[in-house]
């Protein structure tokens, strides 16, 4: 459908060149209005932050860490960072060894358990790989406390990250929170530096902005917290999600966020709850990760469009807005190529400056706040324009990611 619309639009514009400016105007209006909307929300958040009181009473949390063939040192750092939390809440860690073949992981898990006898650590050892959803599914029931923290095994967190992550739960309407992510291995190469910049933009601009109007569409797998009562309610639906007749493997964080919304709860982003994660440092791994993310993006966007209206209008319209932008975008890129060939003067005089201005403008906040990181965002834009964007097309043709890819 996406391709049909785009190809149809492209062919129409190709033979009716006089319409292309009207088409571009429509596209520009959608994109610019979304940027304005995003920045106004962000400005509102900056000027009047949502303030939450600390949780009171008998509070406890269970941290769930699924792992498969994780590097032992990362796993150790992950558990260590949980143990080192400075809060006074009751806590436990549930580590699910999801069929790791690397024996070092199993040895490391035993070491962790033995070295921390006073800390409540449970290790579930699955003989075969059942996937992250199953790891979650089985551990939600085991969690002793009212709040469940979902973490990745390659992620470590700041000393007070969980305390800050749990603060918003003092508001009963909040069902989930998600933390900020910094890249642990940022300085390895160009790819990791680019991803660090991308994370900054994704979280400190987009997610923070979405948080203002309760339209966060994904609680990061790296660090998120949920009310256990919601997880128990949606557990079966979460685990048994089917898309195009096949069980869903990836995108569990997005689906869980959707289920929280559908149960009438709010989701907020906690900027100062910091986690540090590893990002792919090889291009092939990065592409696999992107494939997985894009696949779940489209699947969950369809889920939202099919299920969220009229219950969660804000998210419905936001996703609709983004989807229409994406659909129109492909024809625009193809038209840009046609213009480049047919009217290079116009392309250089009008299209190129507009694009450059657009790129600088929409990312101006990172250039002002984190100029050193922002520098690496520029090469990323080219990678996106010439490679990653077209992965959308591939993903739409092959919407189901058959495997996790990076585990």
């Amino acid at each position: 459908m996406f391709l049909l619309i785009n190809v149809g639009l492209f062919v129409f514009l190709l033979f009716n060149m006089e319409y292309w400016k009207t088409y571009f105007l429509t596209n520009a209006f959608l994109i610019l209005s979304y940027i304005w909307f995003n920045y106004i929300r962000l400005f509102a958040e900056e000027t009047k932050k949502q303030d939450f009181k600390p949780l009171k009473g008998d509070v406890g949390y269970s941290v769930i860490v699924p792992c498969k063939d994780e590097k032992p040192e990362l796993l150790r750092a992950c558990v260590r960072s949980i143990i080192n939390q400075t809060d006074s809440y009751k806590k436990e860690v549930i580590i699910i060894n999801d069929g790791s073949k690397n024996k070092d992981v199993i040895i490391e898990l035993k070491k962790i358990k033995n070295m921390n006898p006073n800390f409540d650590i449970t290790i579930i050892d699955l003989e075969e790989n059942r996937g992250k959803r199953f790891a979650h599914y089985s551990s939600f029931m085991m969690a002793k406390y009212d709040f469940v923290i979902s973490m990745d095994s390659d992620t470590s967190i700041g000393d007070d990250a969980i305390y800050k992550l749990l603060r918003p739960f003092s508001d009963r309407r909040i069902g989930a929170t998600t933390g900020n992510i910094l890249v642990k291995n940022e300085s390895i190469n160009l790819l990791t530096r680019m991803q660090a910049a991308l994370y900054w933009v994704g979280l400190s601009i987009h997610k923070k902005s979405q948080s203002r109007m309760d339209s966060i569409i994904c609680c990061s797998g790296c660090l998120s917290a949920y009310r256990k009562e919601i997880l128990l309610k949606v557990r079966d639906e979460y685990y048994n999600q089917i898309f195009l007749g096949k069980p869903c493997i990836a995108g569990e964080d997005r689906h869980l966020t959707n289920l929280v919304h559908l149960n009438g709860y709010r989701v907020v982003f906690v900027e100062d709850s910091i986690s540090y994660t590893e990002v792919p440092d090889k291009f092939s791994t990065y592409i696999k990760q992107q494939r997985r993310w894009k696949s779940s993006f489209y699947r969950e966007s369809l889920y939202i469009l099919a299920n969220f209206y009229p219950q969660s209008k804000r998210i419905f319209f936001e996703v609709l807005w983004i989807s229409v932008n994406n659909i129109l975008n492909l024809s625009m890129r193809l038209m840009a190529v046609v213009l480049l060939i047919s009217n290079i003067t116009y392309f250089i005089a009008v299209i190129l400056p507009a694009w450059l201005l657009y790129v600088i403008t929409v990312n101006s906040l990172i250039f002002l706040n984190e100029p050193k990181t922002a520098v690496w965002y520029i090469p990323y834009l080219f990678v996106y324009a010439f490679l990653l964007y077209f992965m959308n097309v591939y993903t739409i043709i092959n919407p189901v990611a058959k495997s996790w890819g990076t585990r």
């Binding site: 060149m17 006089e18 400016k21 009207t22 571009f24 105007l25 520009a28 209006f29 610019l32 940027i35 304005w36 920045y39 400005f43 900056e46 000027t47 009008v350 507009a354 201005l357 657009y358 600088i360 403008t361 101006s364 906040l365 002002l368 706040n369």
Partner: protein
Amino acid sequence: MKIRKWVEWLVVFSLLGIITVYTFFSIGVPSMRLVSAYSEEPRNFYYNNWMEINLAGMLNLLYNNDFEITKMNHTFNEIVGEYEFTRTEEAFVVNVTGFKDYSYRECDVLRKLMEHPEILARFPEIDDEDSNIPMWRLNGVNCLHTQGGGIATALGISSGGVS
């Protein structure tokens, strides 16, 4: 919020403003004119509104509508500095069904029309002997120069009026 933050936001919103204005005024406004050309509301187009984009609009109108060309007296207004001159002259006027009169004033129209002989064939050839102003031909089609040497007038325009 600290002063630095306010400055940051001032910069962000200024840049957003620039890109919005740039987009809508370099691309948007002419596009809106194009859209207006398809409007069924009767409109008059005047010299100062004649931008390139209107040519495409006109072409489309001719493609999609029946039209006839007649001679009639047309009033032209010309502004030179602070003076405005008005004169009535005989003009070829294209009447497009459902619209008011349109007059073609730029030879660019002709150049575009040359690509569409099926439209061009429906235009009468201008008799240059009736004109007392400089004329030239473009691929066999008459174009009239304006007296002031500015915008070239073409099909449908009387003897060289800049209106």
